[in-house]
Symmetry: C2
Subunit: 241 residues, 2 copies
Amino acid sequence: MHFTSEQRLDDGSLEREFILDSIPGILWTPPTPSPAPLILLGHPGGLHTMYPRLVGRARRSAASGFAAATIELPGSGDRPRSADAEQARADLHRALAAGQPVDEIVDRLVIPLVDKAVPEWRSTLDTLLSLPDVSGPVGYSGGLIAIGIRLAVVEPRIAAAGLFAGSFVPRSMFDEARRVTIPLHVLLQWDDENNDRQLALDLFETFGAQAKTLHANMGGHAGVPDFAGDEVNRFFTRHLR
Amino acid sequence: MHFTSEQRLDDGSLEREFILDSIPGILWTPPTPSPAPLILLGHPGGLHTMYPRLVGRARRSAASGFAAATIELPGSGDRPRSADAEQARADLHRALAAGQPVDEIVDRLVIPLVDKAVPEWRSTLDTLLSLPDVSGPVGYSGGLIAIGIRLAVVEPRIAAAGLFAGSFVPRSMFDEARRVTIPLHVLLQWDDENNDRQLALDLFETFGAQAKTLHANMGGHAGVPDFAGDEVNRFFTRHLR
């Protein structure tokens, strides 16, 4: 891992961009005494585009004393494109616009992405946890919840997950969802244009976790109210501290 | 209204039992400077039986600077019984035990109760708001959400409602639910034995409020986690202060 930039944010957090095995990422550590428990920030791909929202979430995490980190997804941002994924993405947009079923396309898009991304998040975790100012336990927070589900099943260092039910989850991953037993906080935007509400409710029902909470708010994908973000933070404070 | 007892709780709140137009009730005011915004505590009837849970909710309200009050429901506790309501209650238990449909029985039980109780809550409100240590805006919090729905529609002093979706709501009241436009915080116990989950989700979808939030947690009717109670309190703090 090498850090390619470093800046102090106005809240006192330290933001460092890094490259690890050719994958770009960002690490935020809070101004509070280290080591800080780490929250991995999930996102749909495209670190530059997502930066304003990611840094907002990182600041919120820092305010509760958490470090936060994220890496670019395979095939997104500055990383090499995958022809199959590009094709699946185009097919998905077309099918959604035409009101056609998307299950097969979601499988084709999300499953290879999860298969490739999860080992990358895990090896990033190895490196981040070796830094003096970052510690476990670790949380996963955010969208692309298929990655969160897989991580929750295969990665024992993930102790809690805040899942933003604003992305497609392959039906074939429901078996994995059943095996998720860590505490879960699921955020649902009731009229999310990127998501199927009934699928999100079915998925919530399916999770094997004893401690799972669903917070549903009005509005579309980008309309998560501020107070709902605070509640995610309090969830992590209950489970990671 | 006359107060029949008065005691100081260990958190500094003042608990006063009262009788108003032959209806028993309890008022809790916080130790903070008055006047305090008021939260009406809904419950399924039976003040003595419900007291431990009610006082717990009142303490939580007091910790955020709210007064809290409740009155006995028609036909419950020390109030005269209604033969029709007793019959409907028995029919409901029998139908539930036998797995039979309950819609007609719920109508017969809940609608007369709402028709009778809501004017009583409103006149109680007139009196409570005339006290020097109680003020508006007013919230309604708790179960028997059919009363909360009717109050939210007809009583302009109710500015926000935290509804515990753990009781039956007549389908015929869904039209009223559509007319509820105040901010709502709906609490759902995912495996509530007193409730139909799909009805609760349909009701949430039906509410006319722009600002409505659903918090679902695992467990049965009495298993609401402590943190979920704190979230209700923060909802009222956002909307009543």
